[in-house]
Each structure stands twice: as structure tokens, then as C-alpha cells.
Amino acid sequence: MTIKKEDVKYIASLAKLKFDENEIEKFTEQFNEIISYIEKLNELDTSNVEPLAHPFESNNVFRNDELKKSASTEEALKNSPSKTEEFFRVPKVINQP
């Protein structure tokens, strides 16, 4: 599997990142290095091995449906660069019909 420059550009756009041509060139190289390193794993026959989603073999970590104290509105909004007294404020995200 080879990563092309277009792939890097697409992935950057999904992550809302912008790079210049030099950076794209560099990342394409790096991406390919990483992929070929990981590809080494394909040498192993894993046809009878269940895919592992997590390094810990544990399951059913639950909490009961019990109320805990929430943060105050003031605390919740504290780190927001744009806000009102009650709301987070963001640029308009919809063009209403």
C-alpha cells in the first residue's frame, strides 16, 4: 500500500489542517515509512486470531445510573474563547432556508 500526496491532502482536510507543498511532500514520505513498518505484521498469519480492539482483555466496565454533581455553568464555560453568560458561542453553522 502506498500513500500518495492526494491521500495526505485528503486526510489533512478531514482533520481541518493546512500544509504547504513541502510539508505535504515530507508527510507523504513519513506516512509511507510508517505504513511499510506496520506492513511487516502482514507476514504473520492472523486468519485464526480474533481482532483485538483493546490491549486489556477486560469487558463490562459499568457505572450504575446514579447522579453525580455536574460542573457549574461558569466552570463549564471558563475555557471558552467565545461565550455568553449561558452559552458557548460559535460562528453560524447553518444557512437556514
Binding site: 469487558n59 466496565v61 446514579e66 453525580k68 455553568t73 463549564a76 458557548f88 447553518i94
Partner: protein
Amino acid sequence: MRIKIDYKNSPLYSLYILHYTFYILHYTLITSYIRKVKFKIQGLKLLETSKYEAVIGLEVHAQLKTNTKIFCGCSTKFGSSPNSNVCPVCLGHPGSLPVLNKKVVEFTVLMGLATNCRINEKSIFARKNYFYPDLPKNYQISQYEEPICEHGFITIEKKDGSHKKIGITRIHMEEDAGKSIHDFGDYTMIDLNRTGTPLMEIVSEPDLRSSEEAYLYLTKLKQILTYLDICDGNMEEGSLRCDANISIRLKGEKKFGTKVEVKNMNSFRNVEKAIEKEIERQIDLIEDGKQIIQQTLLWNADLEDLFPMRTKEEAHDYRYFPDPDLMPVVVNEDWKIELEKSLPELPDEKRNRFIEEYKLPIYDADILTSSINLADYYEKILRVTNDYKSASNWVMTEVLKIVNEQKIEIKEFKITPENLGELINLINNKIISHKIAKDVFNEMLTSNKSPNEIVKEKNLTQISDSSELEKEIDKILDANPKDVQDYLSGKEKVIGFFVGQIMKATKGKANPQTVNELLKQKLDSKKTFNNV
């Protein structure tokens, strides 16, 4: 000097008139021709319409009735002040970790069992990545490749009485996003109270073929959800949401057409209307030789029309991957059996039991079991009286009339089922007539008194005592000798008049059956007397 032009005699004028006449004639002919063609087109369209079938699949999101959110202990209460039920987990702060609410798993498994799904022993959570301000982590925790329930079905009953199985592809658990409020000038305001509210997504197979089927399927889902008491099923408040994928194809065609997603339908009727509208739109497009574009349309309930959704979101590529913050969920056989045992009686079972146990007509059973609360109300009446059919009649007519008029829930209905049962007993024990019972019923709507108290207080007890009634009858007969003669000469219809007079004299308290019997006896005795 004035120059007079005799234009009427000019040859040009004649030509003009001729031309004009032809023009009118021509116009009439053309319009009538156009009308004919138009009519033909419409007729054809009707004909064409029936050669298509719609293919509809629904994605339903149900908010689960837990006290706390799916991955943190914040309250799920609706209507709290903005950004007050939030914590580092649902605010998506770095370093915070989600812990799954056990109740969410239980509720989802219950729904899976109630809809004949396979409960997957192991299921995992996945991250669905996208940037949207009401989703502060920039991913939604959902289930993707290994959902908790799969391959189920429910059965709907159509108007013509036929049954149809609608497949359920999957049911999975996920978190809700926050709320964006757009009408604030150049900004969007974000309230994250709803972020992390547990949702269950129920995805149907594309088995629905009409807006009616979609409506019935959705109604059935709501019925099951409310019977299980895991979601309040209120579309207007958004605790139940529905998106529809709609395409059309020629009947008999196996391939699917291009599908259009319709969103923003906030009532059951609107789901039906929006789907209807979209099917028509697609047929019109195809008939006009145009293409259907894959897109998302929003239903505008005020304008009763569909509009393309225009957001600044780009084409979706969610890059799902297993969420490393959450461990797999394992529902083993023991847990499944335990949950199975806790399943309440489901709508179909209850309906069938009502038909069998209470000997109710299907129609009655359908209405009474349409909501769990109504069914409970009905069965509470039966703790007091064993007149199943009367109880059903009272609920279906008098009770539901008031409930619908006042737009209230049966739970808010003023008359307790116990009191209604008592009222039915008063009729059956001949203490009051059915007519008086309706007055008592109306009185009960405004007071907290029991029917017994009202009957005693207002002295409404039915007069069944013959001697007392005989006195009244004699009075009436004496006062109307002409009508008595009429009866005797064969006009037996006047008996109705006598009954009416007696009911009036006793203020409706006379037992009509006793009155009838006594009247006949008395009048007939006069007959024999006369003949002798």
C-alpha cells in the same frame, strides 16, 4: 379644420375584424387543445404513478429514560438552564474518560428482545469522527461494526387487516449531541446539556413500501418503547426522532433507486406527510425524465414541504474506529435470560389477552392496548367491576372523548378507574339508569367525590319500587285520557310518550325497564276491561 377618417369603411378595418375573429377562434381552439393535452398528461401520470413502488427505511433515535447520561453521571433532565448538566466527560475535556451506564445496555437489550433481535454476546463502541460544534470531542461515541442487537423484526397491521413483517437491521447505543440555537444574529449558541444523553438507534430494513406502512411501523416502535418504559416516545419534544431513506423504483424491479434522506419530521403525522411528498416528488422527476440526486432534505412542517439541507458540513467520511477508551460489552446467556424475565407484557400479547380473557372485540382491544397507560387504566376498572364490555365502552367513548378534547394524558384524567368501576356497578345493580350515570360521570369530572357519594347527595337513586312508580303512572294516565284511548285503539307507539312523561315526572330516576313493564300491564288491563 378637423379631418375625419372613416376608418370603418376602410378595407384595412375589414381585414382587422377578420383577423381578430380568426385570432379569437384560434385562441379558443388552442386553449381547449392545451387543456385536453394537460388532462391527458394528468391521466397518464395517475396511471404512471401506480407502476412505481416506494422503498423506505427508517432510522429512529430513541432517547433512553435513564437518570444520568450514557458515559457520565450528569443529569439527563429536559429543560434545565443551558450548560448546567455538564462535566469534563460530556464537555469532551482532554484526559476525561467515559464509563458506560449499565442501564443503557439493559434498556437496549430489552428493546432488542422485544423486537425479536439477536443479542450479540460481544459488542464494541466506535468513534464516529466529525467536526460539529455541538459535539465537543469531535467524535460521537456510537456502535458501528459490532452493534448490540441485530436481525430483528416487528409486525405491523395494515388498515385492511393484513399483517406485514418489517425487518430491523440493527439496534445500537450511542450518545446524543448538544443543541445548536441558530437565531442569535451572526452566531450559533451551543447548549451541551443534551450532549451524552443515551440514545438507541433503531435501523429498519428497507421493507416499508408506503407512508402508511412507515407510520404504522413508527407507531408500533413507540408502543413497544413505552410499554418497556425505556423512552417516553414524544416526537414533538425530540425524545423520539425519525429520519427516512426514500427511493422509488418500477414495480418488480430488484435494484434500488437513488435514495434521498428526509429529516426534521417532528410528529408522527409529519413523518407520513413528508414521505408522501417525497415519493410524489421523485415520481414527478422520473416521469419528467430527470434524475434523482442523492441528498438530504429537511421537512418544513409549516410550509408542508421539503427543502434541501444547506449546512457548511462537507461530504461525510466518518473514519470509524473502535474507541480505545471503552471496553467491549459482553451480554452472556445468564444476563440475557435475566433481562428476558424482566420483560413486561408486550402490546401484541396484551391485545390478545384482552380479546381472550375479557372477550373484547378486536377493535376494543386495539384501542385499549394502544398505550400502556390506557390499558392499565382499563384493567384497574376491572378490579372493581367484572363487566368487561361496559368498562371498555365507557373508556372508548366517554373517557377518551374527554382525554382527546382536553388534550391530556390518561394519567391526568380526573376520574379514577376505581370510581368509574363503581359507576358501572351502580348501573348494573340498577341503582341508577345509564342516563343518570352520564350525569354522575360529568359531575365526577369536576369533583373528587365517588359516584356513590354523588348519587346519595343528589338523591339520584333509581326508583324501581313498583308501588311508587304505579302511583306516578296512574297520575299520567289519568291526565292523558286521549292518549290512553289512542293506545287502546291500537296506536301502541304512544307508549313512548307515557314513558317520557314518567321519566320527566321522576327527574329521570325511574327505572325505565320497570316503567315499561308496569305501563304495559296497566294499559293492557284497561284493554281487557274495555273488551268486556
